[in-house]
Symmetry: C2
Subunit: 245 residues, 2 copies
């Protein structure tokens, strides 16, 4: 039975971190909200689960994964669940908590990226909170972006098995998520990301190596990959971008 991934249509968003793992592994999955309502899929099918009064384990928000009866919500949780099944997690069980820790730091950074354009409320339009967005973005680019990137660069550089992967000497879902994070940052903040490869050589090399993996390259060129846009997490608003210090 295929995995069922539930996420909003029309944007990459948080669902994309899960899609990359499923695509790299060549897993059989249905991107439920994007499939036709006439076949019982579509956004309506997702909302039915979210609003269900009988489901014993309801998710708070998309994305969530359904594997048979089990509903697994939250990106890091989905990846921790899928990782071993897709051969994208360390074999050593203890290292799976290391992988999950790295993924949760990616989660935190993604939330901060989101809040650069929505610092006050997800219920207001960007234009209604632009002044606060400028202040938050300036702080993010000056302080948080380098802090996170220095950290992930250290993670790669201090990996005893070499700087090609976040953990051990094999690709894991963490590497795929780092690719997506860097890809999104390049899209949203091209000025701030100038000189990225010089400042963070191991991260830049990882980013390139993931992009060139056959299944990932095929996916990125397919219609299944939604383009970055201003409905997602990573939004390109030139007025929020700035050159690095």
């Amino acid at each position: 039975m295929p995995y069922e991934l539930f996420y909003w249509t029309g944007l990459q968003g948080r669902g994309e971190f899960v899609r990359l793992a499923l695509e790299e592994a060549g897993a059989d999955y249905i991107d439920v909200a994007r499939e036709p309502a006439t076949k019982g899929f579509g956004t309506e099918a997702m909302l039915q689960i979210l609003e269900s009064a009988r489901e014993p384990h309801i998710p708070f928000a998309p994305p969530f994964l359904k594997d048979g009866d089990l509903i697994v919500p939250h990106v890091a949780n989905i990846l921790m669940y899928l990782g071993p099944k897709l051969h994208l997690a360390p074999k050593d069980e203890k290292l799976r908590y290391v992988a999950n820790g790295l993924q949760l730091t990616i989660t935190d950074m993604v939330a901060e990226v989101h809040d650069t354009h929505h610092p006050i409320s997800g219920n207001l339009y960007y234009d209604e909170q632009k002044k606060a967005a400028k202040a938050r973005s300036a702080d993010f680019l000056r302080s948080r972006l380098p802090k996170f990137m220095n950290y992930f660069e250290r993670v790669l550089q201090q990996n005893p098995s070499g700087a090609k992967h976040a953990i051990g000497d094999k690709l894991s879902y963490v590497d795929l998520s780092l690719f997506q994070l860097i890809e999104g940052l390049h899209y949203a903040f091209p000025r701030a990301m100038k000189g990225f490869a010089t400042r963070y050589p191991a991260l830049a090399a990882l980013h390139e190596s993931v992009r060139e993996r056959p299944n990932i390259a095929r996916y990125l060129a397919s219609k299944r990959r939604v383009a970055f846009n201003e409905d997602g997490i990573f939004r390109h608003y030139p007025e929020l971008d700035q050159d690095p210090d």
Copy 2:
């Protein structure tokens, strides 16, 4: 060997969610930063790990747990790791992903509570971002707080084993974290939390039942429990609080 918990001193913060699980289980643990530097502990010992150039698996930030050589960062990850060892997680492995999903929703809400007083930057003082804090808090109390609380109330009400616990018919670390979340919300937003027990009866009952557990009651009355204060996540700034709609 005792577990070693690493977290900032002087505040409950995110570390408190881990402490409650360790205390409920009567686990042997060292709250490293609070112990004397003369014995090799203290905040300095925590910073040494964070800044280590040799450690293979560095955390991004506190809290993190050390169990022998393994370093496990992030609250939800620590609790997922400790849960089965402390008998505070479901026995069914699949349900552990349900527990982790709930814990990650708590994590998200905690981050939103933090951002009510720091919507622009953790590098600025509250007073420097007070206007944005007021706007964000108003939105949080009007929209997000009821959304999260309605969700957790539904989780309890839809639990096929009864509304006393978040998962199954036994206490889990998720119940302990819900206690801490509600406790913190009462401290930070006493006006917004008026009528809480009427609106969310199952959550209010869970909150009371956790408080009365012998190990928790003993811990809350001990010196190990730091009082809520304006250095933590849950801060009482009366100007940010408001009555429910």
